[in-house]
Amino acid sequence: MKKEQVPQDLGALGKITKEVCYATDSSGKYMTELSSGWEVKTEALDVAWQDVEARIANAKEKVLNGEASPVLFFMEYRLMDMAILADYTGFWKWQIKRHLKPEVFVSLSEKKLQKYADAFNTSVADLKNMTVHEA
């Protein structure tokens, strides 16, 4: 890539910091050049987030329909899968699977709920109500 070709499309990261790219000057020698982002990459990131948003919306609907507990919603909201959530909470995956059932979730002890709240960076009350405060 020649240094004039280093993309300068403003992406999410570009608003916070520019990225270093290695590119060649007119004599073919490598040097570094700052880039404020690349549309192709921004769009790839957008696609990933659209998928995430769809999963969150789907989880929310399931919780509202009584088909799943708020753990499912927060798991999707925090981009976690069963393995990551198991790591953060210390529960086994089969336990989490049970806790995804609304009828099991309502009977969880305060202590267990707190573990989920910590993992999701939220409070027990917000966990139960599926409330999120961050943008």
């Binding site: 890539m1 999410a12 990261l13 608003k15 916070i16 910091t17 520019k18 990225e19 270093v20 790219c21 290695y22 590119a23 060649t24 073919g28 020698k29 490598y30 570094t32 700052l34 690349w38 549309e39 192709v40 990459k41 769009e43 790839a44 990131l45 696609v47 990933a48 987030w49 998928d51 999963r55 925090r78 981009l79 976690m80 899968d81 393995a83 990551i84 790591d87 953060y88 960076n121 943008a135």
Partner: protein
């Protein structure tokens, strides 16, 4: 407390951290491309059956920690690396390190990394940064992908040092042990070792999934994605491929350019003319990765979507594989 440390921005986190941690002993000679090349950073691996963020697991870089380890080993520098099960001990060790005047490399997860834009915060645990001081409750952070230095509260730093999931960093800190001055001859030898290492990992790992064979294998797989997954999911998979290739701290298309830059620097130490031509091959490979990313974007944004578009996408990777194979074969043939 603030150590005498000069922040330097780099393209890739681990090669940047390696270069910065070795700056004082190498007199700035171990640049980012040199660290990347000596550490044999160029890689490709497609891991079937495993999903990351509900998409394919594809790596364009070596296993986290290897670039630092290999670079130090090749230069004869001892590596100090500690992992912790206790958060208190992890912080105490970091403080002790700073008190001895040693900036510390840390492996961290980016999900809770507060100064990153939210769009970039996935559960990715192989990011690297340097802690070079603490003022009241704020740790002073040199994150190689950022233009300037940043800060994290002790709680925020603990959270990212103890991120969970695949490749959990476990509070890991690392830094070079005692070092004398690094000579040009040492660097020359380390470069040769690094190139040989990289030739091996791109050409000679058995199986279809790693190295240049892995790139071609992925190309063949992509041609089947449209039928197998449906257009939308296949698009998401391609978006994931591009993200792994181009995202900050992972490189990809960009990695090929760093490697090309490394070979130019390697020429200055080894005077092997071939390196300059081979460097051009890696530039070509990087360009082709980028062309393929533009094509992939056409698919995941819905501008393209026929089977022949997927065939074209797969062919790009097969072409890249051929190109990189020839480049590494040429490196292999050099008589040092």
């Amino acid at each position: 407390m603030k150590l005498d440390f000069e922040h330097q921005q780099s393209a890739h986190c681990e090669s940047g951290v390696t270069s910065s941690l070795l700056r004082s002993s190498s007199g700035g000679k171990i640049t980012e491309p040199l660290a990347f090349g000596i550490g044999a950073g160029l890689f490709f691996c497609y891991i079937p059956l495993i999903k990351i963020n509900n998409g394919p697991a594809i790596a364009f870089r070596t296993f986290p920690g290897l670039i630092f380890k290999r670079t130090c080993n090749a230069l004869g520098i001892p590596v100090v690396r500690q992992k912790f099960s206790s958060k208190e001990k992890a912080e105490a060790a970091l403080m002790q390190c700073l008190q001895q005047g040693q900036p510390a490399g840390c492996q961290v997860g980016v999900y809770y990394l507060s100064y990153f834009p939210r769009e970039y915060r996935f559960h990715f645990n192989a990011h690297n940064l340097i802690v070079f001081g603490k003022e009241e409750d704020r740790y002073l952070i040199s994150d190689p992908v950022m233009e300037t230095v940043t800060q994290l509260s002790s709680y925020e730093l603990e959270r990212v040092r103890f991120a969970k999931g695949a490749l959990a960093p476990k509070g890991q800190i690392y830094y070079p042990g005692s070092v004398a001055t690094i000579s040009d001859e040492q660097i020359r030898k380390a470069i040769i070792k690094g190139i040989k290492n990289n030739v091996n990992q791109m050409l000679h790992i058995p199986g279809n999934f790693a190295g240049v064979k892995g790139i071609a294998y992925t190309g063949k797989k992509i041609k089947k994605w449209r039928d197998k997954l449906g257009l939308q999911k296949a698009g998401s998979y391609l978006a994931q491929l591009v993200r792994m290739q181009e995202e900050i701290g992972t490189g990809g298309g960009g990695f090929r350019y760093i490697y090309a830059a490394f070979l130019q620097e390697a020429f200055r130490y080894t005077h092997k003319e071939e390196l300059l031509d081979i460097s051009k091959l890696f530039t070509e490979a990087g360009d082709l990765w980028r062309t393929s990313a533009v094509h992939a974007a056409g698919i995941y944004k819905g501008r393209l979507g026929s089977q022949s578009d997927f065939d074209q996408m797969g062919d790009y990777l097969i072409q890249v594989a051929e190109l990189e194979k020839n480049a590494f074969l040429a490196l292999k043939k050099i008589k040092w």
